[in-house]
Amino acid sequence: MFLKENILLAIAGLKSNKIRALLTMLGIIIGIGSVIAIVTIGNALTSSVSDTFSSMGANNILVNVTEREADPYRGSSGKMDDEDLISMEQLERFQARYADEIGAIAISIGSGSGKVKDGRRYANINIEGVNEGSKDINNIKMQKGRFLNAKDVSASRKAAVVSDKLVHNIFKDKTDPLGKEINIYKDDGVDSYTIVGVYKYEQNAFQGGGQTTSDQDLSTTMYIPVTVAQQTAENQNFQYFMVKSKPSVDTAVFAGTVQKYFDGLYANNEKYTCQIQNMESYLAEATSTLNTISVAVAAIAAIALLVGGIGVMNIMLVSVTERTREIGTRKALGARSIYIKMQFIVESIIICVIGGIIGVLFGIGLAAVGVNLLHATLKISIPIIIISVGFSMCIGVFFGYYPASKAAKLDPIEALRYE
């Protein structure tokens, strides 16, 4: 009913009182904005979390030595001794026992951080001792040369696999880094390694820690044979390792088998036990955490929308009172009650929809900032935007209905006499 006229009229009305219009829309803007922001950030995070986990591989199992229930009398534990940790021999026995199920095992020992220096050039590194299985399990993508192999490990060769970033910083992309010797400066001295391969550095949501460092100061991982790392490590044994099951094996079932095996090994250890986790369970956990956050934010948004809707209703009631004479005049000129009702409902819808659109833009802006901080990629979901604007429209109808009915029911004579 006179839709176009009513829309133009509503917009002219809003334009004539911009501050009031904006204040009226505020609740809707905040409500819709926060929904859009959280959904967009949530989507970005979920997809980046699942990207990260799936790049790690869904058939990976993490075996981790952890403290049993913290003992309140003895307080927190001291350091782990080698006998509490998993030895190379135990690992070999485990691997032999489940040779049919195990595709690869990745072990690692952290070997601190340091700096590679060449004249005035430098690059920051974290040193990690690994074995040949780490390449697949940690999804390391080689760019040049090869990854560390079994021989490097068994012979404790001073071989290193470095990142493309390091190569860029040290060799400025001019010289072929393969076969070059690099000097590592650590707190306790200098050591030199031969580069056997270069991998492609990838940042994910869990590394980087949200800090944006320049490429020059970025710290990347340098992989060396685990046996070399053991020479300087405090513990020779491993606190954790990763197992990749063969493609034909059901990872969840195998994770149970592994749990039993290590429960057996640690049965007599009072202080420590082994915890088995696979990536699927991680992923489920991360997703459910995100969902919880989403539900909380949705609740807040719902309250904001409710308050916003009541605000719209309030201002519409004010508007009806202010325009009582106008309503009387319209009725005298032959407007049926339903025309008056439509006019005010359309006005309420316009307020809410404009509020909703501003809210969508505001929410996307907020999400862009959030997503940027989390190093994820912004993905704008068109259905969510359509739903949001549609929902704003419903709020307009719902909260505009009562004031509009009130306007429609006005007695023309009394309305004309109103001052």
């Binding site: 005049t329 319209r330 032959g334 049926r336 009650s337």
Partner: protein
Amino acid sequence: MSGKVIIDMQHINKNFYIGTPNELHIIKDMSLTVTEGAFVSIVGASGSGKSTLMNMVGVLDRPTSGDYILDGIPIAKMSDNDMSDVRNRKIGFVFQTYNLIPRSSALKNVELPMLYAGMDRKTRTKRAKELLDMVGMKDRMHHQPNELSGGQKQRVAIARALANDPAMILADEPTGALDSATGRMVMDLLHKVHKEGGKTIVLITHNRDLAAETERIVTIKDGMIVSDVSNKPQSEEKVEASCS
């Protein structure tokens, strides 16, 4: 008294209830007929019931009792929607306070009754422009009410009252808020609408001089018609014009 009867009111009463014991009897057994093309003025002291009568004549209100037939249509038992439609097509209101729709241009104001009548955009814009031209407001048609003087607003209001070519124009103190010169201009415009357009006009006024310009003067006192006289020379002319 030849010609079609536009207003036919018989034994109209109007009561107002303000709390149970108090019942105000404002219009008392009033009968009034007005023929097509007449220019009638209704005069009377303040509070005598002129506006109350006008609300019923204008189908804004129903009488408490009595019959009212407007241009052949019985009004008494009409639904609100039907009353709206009758107002829209049969009556053009001119108010003392102009009552133009704020934030709508003069053109939009004149178009409004035609919009409610369901007329298409082209036709109503064309007609609204013609009417504004007739009242001498064409050059101001895109101005909003707050950009117009009182006399200009009232001219737009008269154009709006004519929009759906109604059976009659009801003007309640149309010059009441204007100075005498501007009031004169508005009055001349009503005469023009009457003579050239052949419209039936009912004018409510306090001003005896203005009433004297009309063909017939109805005087109301305490809700009753106490005198109903014709202003012969003008009315003779008029009746002839309306018959042709």
